[in-house]
């Protein structure tokens, strides 16, 4: 009998290297179709028990980056001007 080891790290905010929903254990059931089209397809050639691991295993392609440049909504932030008086003091309107 062979022995297999997995290591799971949980950080100080409770983030884990194992996605429990994607963890299939040692069983060999077919892959869940609900992962199709998401990042999980990258693990389709990995052993089933590692499909939930967000570790260094990458057998498939990375996420599909669009080859063409496109508008990404990086507008400039509004430029705010705070007027000063001649003496350098802040402008305060008198109502």
């Amino acid at each position: 009998m062979r022995e297999k080891t997995i290591t799971i790290a949980i950080d100080s905010q409770g983030n884990s290297t194992l996605d429990l929903e994607g963890f299939a254990g040692k069983h060999t059931s077919p892959p869940a179709t609900r992962h199709a089209g998401t990042g999980w397809t990258a693990y389709r050639h990995a052993p089933l028990e590692f499909r939930g691991l967000k570790a260094d295993i990458h057998h498939g392609p990375e996420s599909q980056t669009k080859p063409k440049a496109e508008y990404i909504g990086a507008d400039h932030l509004p430029f705010l001007v705070f007027r000063s008086q001649l003496r350098g003091e802040p402008y305060i309107p008198i109502s």
Binding site: M1, R2, E3, K4, T5, I6, T7, I8, A9, I10, D11, S12, Q13, G14, N15, S16, L18, L20, F23, A24, G25, K26, H27, E49
Partner: protein
């Protein structure tokens, strides 16, 4: 002055949340129908929570701490805004979530046939990290 504020968490399973709070030494009230957090001053308006830790158990706290279940199944943390900046903020909630996740991981992974081999606490620049090592025989 401050009031009760809300923080959305990713916690869903009540059992693991209760285990985590108990492991931290709190006596927890569970109210499936919800119960009011106490108002210790006028700005702390009535808030209802399903899981409550009373202020008496929270050294230095301004109010009770509660968790309320949302329609999507996740728990929201309700606490006085001053406590969020004090001893019961991100770090405290992080500790709750870390214990929650460790207990949940142990429960789920062991049902898949894995056995816990070792548990280590590693000091990192972002705080303590828990490392669990599991083995399975095939």
């Amino acid at each position: 002055m401050s009031k009760y504020g809300e923080t959305q968490t990713v916690l869903r399973e009540e059992k693991f949340l209760l285990d985590a709070l108990k492991e931290m030494g709190y006596q927890v009230e569970v109210h499936p129908e919800g119960a009011r957090l106490n108002s210790y001053y006028s700005e702390q308006e009535a808030k209802v929570a399903n899981i409550i830790i009373r202020r008496a158990q929270l050294p230095g706290a301004y109010g009770d701490v509660g968790f309320v279940r949302q329609p999507d199944g996740r728990f929201t943390l309700i606490e006085d805004e001053l406590d969020d900046y004090g001893g019961y903020g991100k770090k405290w909630l992080g500790r709750v979530q870390q214990i929650y996740k460790e207990n949940q991981t142990l429960a789920v992974v062991q049902t898949k046939g894995y056995r816990l081999k070792s548990r280590q606490i590693i000091e990192t620049s972002e705080g303590k990290q828990v490392r669990l090592q599991f083995v399975v025989r095939r």
